[in-house]
Amino acid sequence: MPSTMPDSTSLQTFADDLAAISGLEHLRVDGGAFTIAPASTEEVAAVLHCANKSGFSVVPIGGGTKQSWGNPVRPSLLLHTHRLSTLREHTWQDMTCTVEAGCVWSSMQASLAKHGQFVALDPLWPEHSTIGGIAATNDSGSLRLRYGSLRDLIIGMTIVLADGTIARSGGKVVKNVAGYDLHKLMTGAFGTLGVITEITLRLHSIPRHMQSFTISSPDVEPLGKLLLKLLDSHLSTQSLQLRSTNSGFYLDVRLATLPEVIHDQANSLSQIAQSVQLEACNSDSDVWNARQQHLDWPEHFVVKATMLPSDISRLTATIRALGGTSVTQAVGIMTATLPIAASSQLEPLREKLEAIHGSLTILRNPVNTTMPVSSSPEDTLPLMRELKQRFDPNRILNPGRFLGGI
């Protein structure tokens, strides 16, 4: 959806107002848009209040790593969050921390590591992406199997609504709190309901001992069976993924427990692998970067597909047959690349996934097909539109970015 087309007078007023909030040095004009870098939640609120008054569209931007996700938006204002970068609080004894949304992921983790703790998530582009952007897109990787998603890790948030209202959801304690879990609504909302300025997270101890194993096979079915057996086992599995490359199929397993126990569990793993006539070997060091590598693959479609664990091997074979590669987390999230030649197969692939309760989301579209970026649940779209209408009546926040053109 195009941004509003303001006249030059209102633009000048807007620029003056923005400069008054954050200072001229933090205001720029960039192509057809302004950019501003507020320093605090209050400044973010003032900026949004100002934009909302005149109906200027706003896109919040952290590391900018996922700006191409969702439908394209051409805003009047890019709201940069990099000055909201402080780790406000790390109460390690309560296993919680509160961090500003513009804090870069890797630097947050480095601070938390001082007390041997971390946010148990392995997102994409960790050296550039911010906690705010990761939350807004609900990114997750191989750690999801053991630790859950951001829905389970985020316990509170400060958000700024389109009209400049500052609201707090959740709390600082891990335990269940009163009221609606607005922070859950904001997670994965792609910045369409509010700007996240602060997040409180539940932490875990950094596992001290881990070991990874890879089981390879020319056929994907035995690996699919093995994946289900491992989910059903008593191994201390932290991560489990099924990979498909040009050279074959692989199941990667990462165990995390005490060293003496890892040794015994490695033997158990071998026995389980042998039950499907396969062998477990030590992994190459970069197998857990596979998802990132898929996102960095040039000139291909990149898609995210969701499915039941029992459908993983079948869908992996489907992608392979289309000439693509994939890595799928055992919880049922696949990241796949497909060659441009397969573009006509995307819609049938989406239908196939939806028929088995899954979904297909296009993360990179190198040829700009008209296919919708995301599966759209028809029955709940009116309710989602209603929520958008209440939270952002003037549609200034990422207008059109979300599914259904929300």
Binding site: Q93, T96, G179, K184, A189, I206, H357, D379, L383, L387
Partner: protein, 478 residues
């Protein structure tokens, strides 16, 4: 309108006789009672939808009810409203062991979910103390937790999808049996919304593989601070127990008197439960025992059998009901505090209590900060009930002052409605109202719950009257 409802559920599916309606006038918070206009007992989603459509058409408030074990008045009817009882929608609809999922109707009892999947070595993790009677629908409304929420999380962690009838009567599906369903996380905002956003007719839940083994340890201390420090040290050692509980001297005494779990006689008792693979639990438990001793535990005792382990937990669960042995009446409060603040809070509670001349006993879910102060009093002494109620609310405010929250697991409902205004600012509450209005613009879904309304100032908080289920020994107040 009653005729329309009767046409949907049949004569056997509607209750209008006053003496029968009385069963539904309250839930576990028996101090607050309102007689509904009618109670309906649907058997299917279609019937639920038809009922809600009638309510929407006539703007009649409705509230869903499972087993009625809630402790915050969540199932309290609105005057002239109707109660939708899910007692007859208690089927397990589908089970998928390889994918670790199960779909159930809302009236299914919590433990029945585990029973269904136990033969395959699985269980349904959220374990509120009323789990042998409470229903999944109620668990979803309240985002129920349990003793093991430290490791296993709450209901919301285990809900994948919901079939919902919105207050307009529309049927929608939130989430999916697969994860990361596209769109806003409507499942996430619905769980814990206490029936104010609609009514659930089917729930898809995640089930978890049972750990290979479980062990429980009791450690006796001369001070709460030492027990609290032990908890911190366990966490610092990268160990995540399945549960950690602290009981003070008075609650130990109460438990011992009623259930005889043979607890050590001490100032503070720490209970630590570990579960996982056998070798891992064995080694971790050794470390935990060393940490306990390093913090001055003068006894640490490992349960030697499943029977002993269950007895340890029975004693812990009896701490509440057993308060009845210490005083004729008591009020249970439910607050959350950062664990690091426990020694300070308990000291303050002790001081506030002695100023009033009343005693307060404390039980604490050490892993995640849920504190249950139990204010003991004698209602037959004039004025003492008011003092007790006031003390319990002031304690709650202190929890919030120390960075905590006013709800651990028992919901806000009617009981803590006013206190929501203490914890949340106007903008926070207004923002939540945006959600409520999007789902329920005509405010018929369990209205007058959850959020403070000025005209309801001054209602009583809950003096403890045992629920009939407790008296019958069927459920325990945890």
């Amino acid at each position: 309108m009653l005729a329309d409802l009767r046409a949907v559920v049949g004569t056997n599916g509607i209750i209008v006789e006053r003496n029968q309606l009385q069963t539904y006038e309250c839930d576990g918070l028996t101090a607050l009672r309102t007689l509904p206009a009618a109670v309906v007992l649907p058997r299917s989603r279609d019937e639920v939808q038809a009922i809600v459509r009638i309510c929407a058409q006539h703007r009649i408030p409705f509230v869903a009810r499972g087993a009625g074990t809630g402790l915050s008045g969540g199932a309290l009817p609105a005057a002239n409203g109707i109660v939708i009882s899910f007692a007859r929608m208690n089927r397990i609809l589908s089970v998928d062991i390889p994918n670790q999922r199960i779909t159930v109707e809302p009236g299914v009892i919590n433990t029945h979910v585990t029973q269904r999947v136990a033969p395959s070595g699985y269980f349904y993790a959220p374990d509120p103390s009323s789990q042998t009677v409470c229903t999944i629908g109620g668990n979803v409304a309240e985002n129920a937790g349990g003793a093991h929420c430290l490791k296993y999380g709450f209901t919301t962690t285990h809900v994948l999808a919901l079939d919902v009838i919105l207050p307009s009567g529309e049927f929608v599906q939130f989430g999916s049996t697969t994860v990361d369903a596209p769109g806003y996380d409507l499942t996430g905002v619905f769980v814990g919304s206490e029936g104010t956003l609609g009514v659930v007719t089917a729930i898809t839940l995640r089930i978890v593989k049972r750990a290979e083994t479980v062990q429980v340890l009791l450690a006796a201390y001369n001070s709460i601070a030492a027990a609290g420090q032990t908890v911190s040290d366990i966490i610092a050692a990268s160990i995540l127990p399945a549960a950690m509980e602290i009981m003070d001297r008075l609650s130990i005494k109460a438990a011992e008197a009623s259930v005889h779990p043979n607890y050590p006689d001490c100032e503070a008792l720490l209970l630590v439960e570990l579960d996982g693979p056998v070798a891992e639990v064995h080694l971790h438990m050794q470390q935990v025992r060393e940490i306990c001793r390093a913090n001055g535990a003068w006894e640490d005792r490992l349960a030697q059998s499943e029977h002993e382990r269950l007895l340890v937990w029975k004693g812990r669960k009896a701490a509440f009901a057993a308060a009845g042995r210490l005083a004729p009446n008591y009020i249970v409060q439910d607050g959350v505090i950062p664990r690091t603040k426990l020694p300070i809070i308990l000291e303050e509670i002790g001081r506030m209590a002695s100023e009033t001349g009343l005693r307060v006993t404390n039980v604490f879910h050490a892993g995640d900060g849920n504190l249950h102060p139990i204010v003991l009093y004698n209602a037959s002494i004039p004025g003492q009930e008011e003092i007790a109620v006031d003390l319990s609310i002031r304690i709650l405010h202190r929890c919030v002052d120390h960075g905590g929250s006013l709800r651990g697991k028992h919901g806000v409902g009617k009981e803590k409605q006013q206190a929501m205004g203490y914890m949340y600012s106007e903008p926070d509450l207004n923002t939540m109202q945006l959600v409520r209005c999007a789902f329920d613009p005509h405010q018929i879904a369990n209205p007058d719950k959850l959020f403070p309304r000025p005209r309801l100032c001054g209602e009583k908080s809950g003096p403890y009257i045992p629920h009939p289920l407790e008296v019958a020994g069927v459920a325990e107040y945890f």
